[in-house]
Amino acid sequence: MSSVAPDLPNGFVVIVKRECATCQMVEPILSHIASATNSLTVYTQDDPTFPSSVSPIHDEDLSVSWHYDIDTVPTLIKVVNGKEVERTFGWKATDWQRITGIADLGADLPAMRPGCGSMSVDPDIVDKLRAKFTDSPVIARTVEFSAAEDEFEAMYARGWTDGLPVIPPTRERVLRMLTGTTRHPQDVIAIAPPDLVELTVEKIAINAVMAGCLPEYMPWVIAALEAVCNDQFNMHGVLATTMPVGPVIICNGPGTRAIGMNSGINAFGQGNRANNTIGRAVQLTIRNVGGGRPGEVDRATHGNPGKISFCFAEDEEGSPFTSLATERGVPLGQNAITVFAGEGPRCVVDQLARTPEELTNSLVASLQTVHHPKLVIGFDAILTISPDHGRVYAEAGWDRERLIAEITERSLTHGSELVRGARDMAEGIPPHLKDATLPKFRPGGVLLTYAGGGAGLFSSIVAGWANGAIGSDPVTRIVGS
């Protein structure tokens, strides 16, 4: 919804600015149209006297330019009965001649000349115009800081940050963030734990601004919050647990490349804006809207640094495997996110294996240590294969299904080695399972992904939390608009 647009007069309307050389070039044309049709109105964006030959109206607050989506000057609009019926921008003689019906208009000028950027799309002022003219239903309470107050310190003092500085969520910035989604600002996306409050698109946008997101990340942030705020993922429990887990966000689809996500060198690490701010926006939203704060509902014994943000994209184009999203039922070409309650990543080194069997044995030996070598079935894990390890599987023709089946088979362990007390370790599975032969993971418990830089014979494991109905299941959601 916009504020009421000023009416355009019938006839021909041209929007110009003196600063634009093309506008100066068409000045005689405007006089020609005025005298030939007697129905020309010229709006000028900068110099109120330009062009003096046609008595321009000064669009001083850029209201006309904003409301009629003027991107380029000059723009010629034909208005009939108060309605726009046709427009052209820049100078293209044939268009101007057709629209005005003046056959020889500008016959002495070049056939075409591009226009200039409208002041109403100047990056320095477009957000101010949007805030001024958009009657957006943003209803959040406003908080005014005094001129003497450092706004960054003030936001720390109110407990709104994750320990790092946040960008002040001004109305202008929040409205710009909302341009990244087609969702209405008051749409309720989810009920946010732990306080079980309605989570609106507007509140997500405010926290996304604070996290440092660009507007085009909004659909990903929204999808991730939809994915964590439900009984299946159990964000409440992920917060409340003493274990070191937080939402790990895996992104799939062509949109990951469109928004510049990192699936290569240092994919889990610092340095990429999308990776780091999408995950951060999710966590800030849970903190500020949901009320989930360390020491309160968040009872983690150690936590992990990924609870600030842990978000990466799969390298689908380089991968020898079908993607995680495809495995989880997402149609090819769709953007999707999968959330997983996970701890920090750990590295698996194997620089010597040259066969898939040898390499899988190394991966399994490391996977067995997830949370405890004698605890099985109860925890899932993300396994991220690097390009150097992936090549071993690609050359041997092992696909996703084969690798998962081999991991399951090679992890089988007799219960006598796993029960409590065995191997001089009190921890272990209950005694009644002593005669069973068990794999490390439940079916579907290994989330195989592919990412990382082109050099390094390493893969990575992210261990999960109590799985299934007792704790958390991974959740996949399509990324909308």
Partner: protein
């Protein structure tokens, strides 16, 4: 391109209208804007004799060991004990369970274990 000398100042005056001098900034509240309700605790009973005490097991391992002993001690003191358990310790108690406890019990003890 030829420009009149006054053009730059006209551009900057338009900006001045739209970007006022920085004063204290105004931001939008990132929180849920709610204030938690404060409830007064009920007065502690002088005795548990004749009262119904709910014991809520959150379903952590060995919570029952702790609660069995509590039940013995409460029963010795003349309380009637009802046992309840959450489906999983990782999620809040379901509304129906909370309602059941509230309607059947005078007191409740919730047990954490491990």
């Amino acid at each position: 391109m030829v420009q009149s000398a006054q053009t730059p100042s006209l551009v900057s005056s338009a900006r001045d209208i739209l970007i006022p001098m920085a004063t204290g900034i105004t931001i939008l509240d990132p929180t849920n804007e709610s204030t938690p309700a404060v409830r007064q605790l009920l007065a502690r009973p002088a005795s548990v004799k004749g009262l119904t005490v709910g014991l809520l097991d959150i379903s952590k391992p060995r919570g029952n060991v702790f609660l069995n002993r509590i039940e013995e001690l409460l029963t010795e003191r003349g309380a009637k004990v009802l046992r309840f358990s959450k489906p999983t310790f990782t999620k809040p108690a379901p509304v129906d369970l909370r309602q059941e406890i509230a309607t059947q019990c005078n007191l409740v003890i919730e047990a954490l274990a491990d």
